[in-house]
């Protein structure tokens, strides 16, 4: 046949591919990761109607953002007129509220889509008979895993990019400084990466694509919904009967009757009672790895004139979680009366100092999320090692 003679020279002429330094499971090269990522993305772009998916996704987000815009701005119509008279900026407040809800929306919808991007990546390839042909090449298990993860993440970031009009609309509505936008978007990207890593891990562990899809969604739902629900359920367990000291101002007994028009003299009295106290600070850490909590806690607060009582969903969550960590507040309503008769409360009940000392919660949450993602990635790489000694039930090598 025609080509035989040219091919006949092949083995000596070509020789083996160049030797590469470091030849283990964890060998990483940019070229190797890029090879796998390019392969994955090319297939994804061609096998899905991605333009339609992205367009639908963008339209849904813009539509919902419009509803949010309407909801938060509906009540500001009359106040806008008064803007400037008292330094109060209702537009900024509404903008900050809108931004908060749009971030929640992007996170929730993104968490519905992102896991699907990787949840059948490895077991799907395995059953299609195309995984082993990659494993038999010079690509290391780590390169295959990270290439697939990168491809899934890039796709997720495309979703985030298409969500940017909705986010920008909220930013332009006011109240959101640039730093807030940057931090939330960066953390949304990290959360999507985590969800892709979870999906990839399950797809490497399970033989059937249906199983890995279910397990991935359960894992993502556990972080997003399960942990807060667990927190709520455990509140009834985190209770203890203890003696509670309460300090209140009571009239001084047996005091001389006050002069006309004067309040009776009061003094501070400590009373102790035994009651059931819920120590939510014991279980508040359950909320910390929640993606929304991490985003809310890490994002710099909104900024608008008169904006002290930040009441957007993110800031609310942020102060809520930070307060939960402190535990029940001491019950102290005592005050001193100075010479002029003005009551003076203790400068600091120690709680804000304590809150300051505990600081932000997002570093712990983010670290936990990164650790979870890393663990799933390590599992993925280990599952891609070849030659294999043991095969999972119901799986074939090729």
């Amino acid at each position: 046949m025609s080509g035989t003679e040219t091919l006949g020279e092949a083995p000596p002429a070509g020789g083996p591919p160049p030797a590469l330094p470091g030849a283990g499971t964890w060998t990483l090269s940019r070229a190797g990761i890029a090879t796998v990522a390019r392969l994955e993305l090319r297939q994804r772009v061609r096998s899905t109607r991605w333009i339609i998916v992205l367009a639908l996704w963008g339209l849904v987000l813009i539509g919902l953002a419009a509803l949010i815009h309407h909801a938060v701005f509906a009540g500001t119509g009359s106040s806008v007129v008064t803007e400037g008279t008292d330094g109060w900026d209702p537009t900024g407040r509404a903008g900050a509220q809108m931004y908060g809800w749009v971030v929640v929306l992007v996170l929730v919808l993104g968490s519905l889509v992102a896991p699907a991007l990787s949840a059948t990546s490895i077991n799907g390839d395995r059953s299609a008979g195309v995984l082993a042909t990659l494993q038999a090449t010079l690509l290391s298990p780590a390169e295959i895993a990270l290439g697939k993860l990168l491809a899934a993440w890039v796709t997720a970031l495309a979703l985030l990019a298409v969500a940017s009009p909705a986010l920008l609309w909220a930013v332009l509505s006011g109240g959101t400084p640039a730093g807030r936008l940057v931090v939330t978007v960066a953390l949304l990207a990290v959360v999507l990466l985590l969800e892709c890593a979870i999906g990839l891990g399950w797809s490497a562990v399970t033989a059937r694509t249906a199983s890995s899809a279910v397990l991935t969604y359960l894992s993502v739902a556990f972080l997003g919904l399960g942990l807060p629900m667990l927190f709520g359920l455990l509140l009834s367990v985190a209770q203890r009967s203890e003696t509670v000291t309460e300090r209140v101002m009571l009239p001084v007994p047996n005091a001389a009757a006050p002069a006309e028009g004067q309040a009776p003299p009061l003094h501070c009295v400590s009373t102790t009672t035994t009651e059931t106290v819920t120590h939510y600070e014991w279980i508040a850490w359950l909320l910390v790895p929640n993606p929304l909590v991490v985003i809310a806690d890490a994002s710099p607060p909104p900024r608008y004139r008169g904006g002290m009582a930040y009441d957007d969903v993110l800031t609310g969550l942020r102060s809520g979680v930070r307060t939960l960590r402190l535990g029940p507040a001491p019950r102290d309503s005592c005050y001193e009366v100075d010479a002029t008769g003005t009551p003076r409360f203790a400068e600091d009940d120690g709680r804000s100092a304590e809150r300051e000392r505990l600081g932000a919660v997002w570093p712990y949450g983010l670290a936990t999320e990164l650790a979870i993602g890393a663990a799933f990635t390590v599992i993925t790489v280990r599952r891609l090692r070849a030659p294999v000694r043991t095969l999972a039930r119901g799986t074939r090598v090729a």
Partner: protein, 308 residues
């Protein structure tokens, strides 16, 4: 170049023994056929050689390296064509080969030339820019062969490469494989098409129930007695001629008369004698392929047990 050496390899999956005790030599420059009934452990052995499975016991060397401890050295030198011909459906033939070339870290310009060369070799050049999902089964098999050859391996593992191929493609496959062996590659090819292997392989390793049963040389002109089939214009004169020469033979059948012949030289002698005696000879050929004959004899026990 050292080819493949397999000694005492055993591989089980749970309590299923896929490979029980296999021994195998695949010398460089030769085509070795791996023949055996379904479930005899051929694919498992090829997966071990392709660095995808570890053997439980035994020693394996592929191109001089241990696939368990030095898989990358083996992979650099080994082309593997699996029997399940999964392919990236949406990629074009050229992109599939380019991806595999990248995976073997071939330098881009050299890879591009190599890809064009291979596409021409497996007659897919006109389909190079078409997605692989439009390929027929046989075309996918040919693409699979090109994929296995991309890095010019010195050891080639082909698992059922002929399945799904039309007669012309089979003949071309034979040409490709023989060409590679001539250039010094060690080729191990598993197949069910025994007649095909006769012309393709130099040696055959027959396995059954996970064990190496026999190693047959398929060199022509050997001295293995086997039945040949003789045809003449006149059956009666042929039978008379054979009787006159004192040859043991069967009765006349639709395909001629079967005669036990010891070797190629014996066949030539017999033909000359018959022609000399005036028998109008039409044909004289082995009743079955060398391999088929050996295979049927050797796997009889295993087959009957399997089918029970």
């Amino acid at each position: 170049m050292t080819g493949i050496t397999v000694a005492g390899v055993r591989r089980t999956f749970g309590d299923v023994v896929a490979v029980d005790a296999m021994d195998l030599e695949v010398p460089a420059g030769q085509v070795t056929a791996l023949v055996g009934p379904n479930g005899s452990g051929k694919t498992t052995l090829l997966l071990i050689l392709a660095t995808l499975l570890t053997p439980d016991t035994g020693t394996v060397r592929v191109a001089g390296y241990d696939p368990v401890t030095q898989p990358r050295e083996v992979r650099r030198r080994t082309g593997w064509m699996p029997d399940a011909f999964g392919t990236w459906e949406t990629l074009t033939c050229r992109e599939v080969l380019a991806t595999v070339a990248d995976a073997y870290r071939l330098p881009r310009p050299a890879a591009a030339a190599r890809i064009s060369e291979l596409l021409a070799l497996v007659h897919l050049a006109d389909l190079a820019e078409r997605p692989t999902q439009v390929l027929s089964r046989g075309q996918k098999q040919r693409l699979g062969l090109a994929r296995a050859l991309i890095h010019s391996p010195e050891v080639l593992l082909l698992d059922e490469p002929a399945s799904g191929l039309d007669p012309r493609s089979r003949i071309e496959l034979r040409g490709v494989v023989r060409g590679l062996a001539r250039a010094g590659a060690a080729v191990l090819i598993s197949s069910h098409v025994l007649a095909e292997l006769d012309e393709l392989a130099d040696r055959a390793v027959i396995v059954a129930r996970g064990r190496t049963v026999a190693v047959e040389s398929l060199e022509p002109g050997r001295d293995t007695p086997r039945p040949w089939r003789l045809r003449a214009l006149d059956d009666a004169r042929l039978l008379a001629g054979l009787d006159a020469l004192g040859r043991v033979h069967g009765g006349p059948g639709p395909d001629g008369v079967e005669v036990e012949i010891r070797s190629d030289a014996d066949a030539a002698e017999l033909l000359a004698a018959l022609v000399r005696d005036g028998v109008p000879m039409v044909a004289l050929h082995p009743a079955s392929g060398v391999l088929e004959h050996a295979y049927l004899a050797l796997t009889q026990d295993a087959l009957t047990e399997d089918r029970r």
